[in-house]
């Protein structure tokens, strides 16, 4: 389809969905509802007792409930549900001797067995809906790649395409009816805010109470806000209506998402010392993790971009689940870059290094004496816009604040004459950019030669870069970012290590 025609249809579909809204069909699922009640009780108990004994059981039960919600295909096609049920039973058996609430464990075991004894009514609903419209005029959208594979085995024989939401995005707009399997709020907002079809329906079990639709992030403040409405219809055995009424207050609906065990983590309650940084743990595909500090931007990969424009930098605070990071084992890229930039300086090297060390030492001294928050406050008072990053500026490999103005004000505040420090830092930054640009070109070449569809499927991939003599570059998808900052040794930041906590994620 010609790009202008396709685009016209997209604008029209978006406007049409704004007028007509999307449909949510909820069907009673007593067995799923029983499981949901058991999991909610478990979550309350685990919340009361704090991290520890319940963690693995909680994760396994969450995963089981999530798969009941998002993979309604018959058991014969549902290895994911069978695995999750087995894991929940294993974890329940493991804690049996250690806990007092046997009744809850029995409820969990009985629910985990029950989902293996009864097909999800959502699957039946989906089949009937497809038959009504005709298989040739439907597209089924799965919550994620795992769910897609499961449903594909089942619906493939009927020639109904099963896609993930990014795969749907790549199709030309059409008149097809889209059936999305699972609660709207867990899908990318594009499914309703940038639809490729005029008709979108979601199928869910009634026990999932939250029927809100995803919105675009600016809609709350926007003129012409794209806020799509939902028409909800309910059918089947609905005595399992949403459990919110009469039940103890439950945690947020986000508890439905499979979650990693972050382990016992407490906010440090002190500021990092000079050889330390605060960092969040980031779980990565391929059984890896890194400690990500709030320092220099990190190298990322965007698979949706055309060749030559895939490798880029991203601010640390913008790293989210789904981002791809490019990491090297054993050493951070910024360390290597900094060394190369210093080398490129040639005979100006000593002067630049001395000047950088001078202002960074003085900053370090202020941070040590006044503390991070007081320094931030004082710098804000002096007009420094990005004052909250003051800790990062003391790092040796971070050349200077991005903004010229902020750097000048920082030097003033430190009592250091702007020149020649400013000019020398600028020279170093130029060299750094030069080195960075050369590495980016190499990375682009390596990425172009790689099988990116495999990377999208698997979530991670090693990259070959013989020309630069780099070993062990890995591209890997972010699975989860820890909500808690911890203090770690500076030299541990951004170095990938093996980590099992991601095993409860899909």
């Amino acid at each position: 389809m010609n790009r202008v025609t396709a685009l016209n249809r997209r604008y029209a579909a978006s406007a049409s969905l704004l007028r007509t809204g999307v449909e949510i069909i909820a069907i009673g699922d007593p067995v799923g509802a029983q499981l949901d009640r058991a999991v909610r009780r478990l979550l309350l108990l685990a919340q009361r007792d704090g991290p520890g004994i319940w963690d693995d059981l909680v994760s396994a039960c969450r995963l089981l409930r999530w798969r009941r919600l998002t993979q309604p295909q018959p058991l014969a096609f549902n290895a994911g549900l069978r695995d999750a049920s087995a894991m929940a039973l294993t974890e329940a058996a493991r804690v049996r001797e250690a806990v007092a609430d046997r009744a809850l464990l029995e409820e969990i075991e009985s629910s985990a067995n029950a989902v293996l004894g009864s097909e999800s009514p959502v699957g039946d609903l989906l089949l009937r809906s497809i038959d009504e419209v005709g298989a040739h005029a439907c597209v089924v959208v799965a919550m994620n790649h795992d769910a897609k594979l499961g449903m594909h085995g089942w619906l493939g024989a009927r020639n109904v395409p099963v896609l993930t939401s990014p795969e749907l995005e790549r199709r030309d707009p059409s008149d097809d009816q889209v059936y999305a399997v699972g609660p709207p709020r867990f899908f990318a907002s594009s499914l309703v805010t940038a639809p490729v079809a005029d008709e979108v329906s979601f199928v869910i079990p009634t026990w999932f109470g939250d029927r809100s639709l995803p919105v675009s992030a600016i809609s709350a403040y926007a003129d012409g806000a794209v806020r799509v409405a939902a028409r909800v219809s309910t059918e089947g055995d609905v005595c399992d209506s949403p459990p919110d009424q009469g039940q103890p207050a439950t945690p947020a609906e986000d508890d439905f998402l499979p979650q990693p065990n972050w382990g016992p983590s407490v906010a440090p309650g002190r500021e990092p010392r000079s050889h330390e940084v605060s960092a969040r743990k980031v779980l990565l595909s391929g059984g890896l993790a890194i400690w990500l500090d709030d320092g220099e931007r990190i190298r990322t990969l965007n698979l949706a971009q055309p060749p030559g424009e895939r490798v880029t930098y991203t601010d640390v605070e913008l790293i989210r689940p789904g981002s791809y990071l490019l990491l090297r084992s054993g050493e951070t890229e910024r360390g290597a870059l900094y060394r190369e930039a210093i080398r490129l300086l040639g005979r100006r090297r000593a002067e630049v290094e001395l000047s950088q060390r001078d202002w960074k030492n003085r900053l370090e001294e202020r941070l040590g004496r006044l503390g991070n928050s007081e320094c931030v406050r004082l710098l804000q008072g002096a007009g420094v816009k990005t004052a909250s990053r003051v800790r990062a500026w003391s790092e040796p490999s971070l050349v200077r604040p991005h903004s010229d103005r902020d750097f000048e004000l920082l030097l003033d505040w430190l009592g250091i004459p702007r020149q020649p420090t400013f000019a020398l830092a600028l020279q170093l930054r130029r060299m750094l950019y030069q080195a960075s640009s050369a590495i980016r070109d190499e990375l682009e070449t390596a990425v172009s030669a790689a099988d990116l569809s495999a990377m999208e499927r698997e979530g991670h991939m090693g990259l070959e870069m013989p020309a630069m003599g780099f070993r062990g570059i890995v591209g890997t998808r972010v699975l989860a970012v820890s909500p808690v900052e911890e203090i770690i040794a500076r030299h541990d930041a951004r170095i990938p290590f093996e980590e099992k906590a991601g095993r409860w994620l899909e």
Binding site: L7, S190, A222, G224, Y313, R320, H402, Y433, S436
Partner: protein, 336 residues
């Protein structure tokens, strides 16, 4: 439209026209390749108008930056169309007549000269006065009577000679003809488009015309390069001796900031470039949010800046712009 005296009035008129019912809108049409049929669409005109209206509003900014974010179902063409609105509404450069300029320029200064048929960037040597005065450049000589506009350049890597870009449908419709020579000659880079370069270049190669032209040409007609969006935007690239717009790859922008001080407006097309929003210091910044992309961090960043440092504006009340179906937008100013 034909009776309108100048561009500002034209933008004013358009302003009121786009806020009327859809049927009365002036429609613009796009065509992706050189042959085929133009497609009229109700969203094209408003995106162009957004660029123009933001420029008009920007004249009232004092020391503040205007941020306009538009979220569209898919990013295609949006950045280029907003850019078209900007150039349409922009003041033409004020250049003195060619001979006056040349008489003040010293030998060996690089210049750009616009003739009846070409735009040339070369080193100026001398004006040979005589019955038919001639302008001597390092690589060529030109009859002064054929030279329509001249401006000195700050620097020149190598001399360039390109065919003179024609006045296309939109430029005619927006009455840019009378200042076209000055616009070609001016070395100011006013507009930066930052995003996925491959995609933006494809957008710039598409043809944009006003409704009467689209209808008249019908199916199967060929179009001229003058109607290319890139031609209207006077994009600077290899082999083109124009400067108004420059395209930057978002993947490399970290190493190219800050943008040149001349830049009056930056269009940040997609997450890859919007994440540099706080480091772009142009007086006006447009952000194009592609809703078909699952990554919504760009939109979050825009909202965060609005809520922490911004003073919100009403697109309808302050800018006089109304979002077409399928587009949502917000605007605010921040201290520079």
């Amino acid at each position: 439209l034909r009776t309108l005296p100048d561009r500002t009035a034209y933008i004013d008129a358009w302003d009121s026209m786009v806020s009327k019912s859809e049927g009365e809108n002036i429609q613009l049409a796009l065509l992706e390749s050189g042959t085929g049929e133009f497609e009229l669409a109700p969203w094209i005109g408003p995106l162009v108008a957004l660029g123009g209206m933001a420029l008009k509003y920007a004249s009232s900014l004092s020391g503040r930056q205007l941020v306009v974010a538009a979220s569209v179902p898919s990013r295609d063409f949006a950045a280029a169309l907003v850019g078209c609105g900007w150039i349409i509404a922009s003041q033409p450069p004020r250049l003195d007549p060619p001979m006056e300029v040349l008489r003040t320029i010293e030998r060996n200064v690089p210049v750009r000269i616009v003739t009846d048929s070409a735009v040339i960037e070369d080193v100026f040597l001398a004006v040979d006065e005589g019955e038919q005065p001639e302008i001597a450049l390092r690589g060529s000589r030109w009859l002064a009577s054929k030279v329509r506009a001249v401006s000195p350049l700050a620097n020149l890597d190598r001399s360039v000679r390109s065919p003179r870009p024609g006045v296309g449908s939109i430029a005619r419709w927006a009455r840019l003809e009378s200042s076209w020579d000055q616009r070609l000659a001016s070395s100011r880079q006013e507009l930066a488009i930052v995003g996925t370069r491959t995609w933006i270049n494809a957008d710039l190669g598409a043809f944009l015309v006003a409704e009467p032209d689209a209808t008249r040409r019908g199916a199967g007609t060929t179009v001229t390069t003058a109607d290319e969006i890139g031609g209207l935007l006077l994009v600077s690239n290899e082999g083109a001796a124009t400067s108004f717009t420059r395209v930057y790859a978002a993947s490399r922008i970290a190493e190219q900031l800050p943008l040149p001080a001349d830049v009056q407006a930056a269009v940040l097309d997609g997450t890859g470039s919007i994440k540099f929003l706080t480091e772009v210091e142009a007086p006006v910044v447009f952000c194009i949010i592609d809703r078909s992309v699952a990554d919504q961090t760009a939109a979050e960043l825009i909202v965060q800046l609005r809520n922490t440092r911004g003073e919100p504006l009403m697109l309808g009340g302050d800018l006089g712009w109304r979002a077409p179906p399928g587009v949502e937008a917000l605007a605010y100013t921040v201290a520079l």
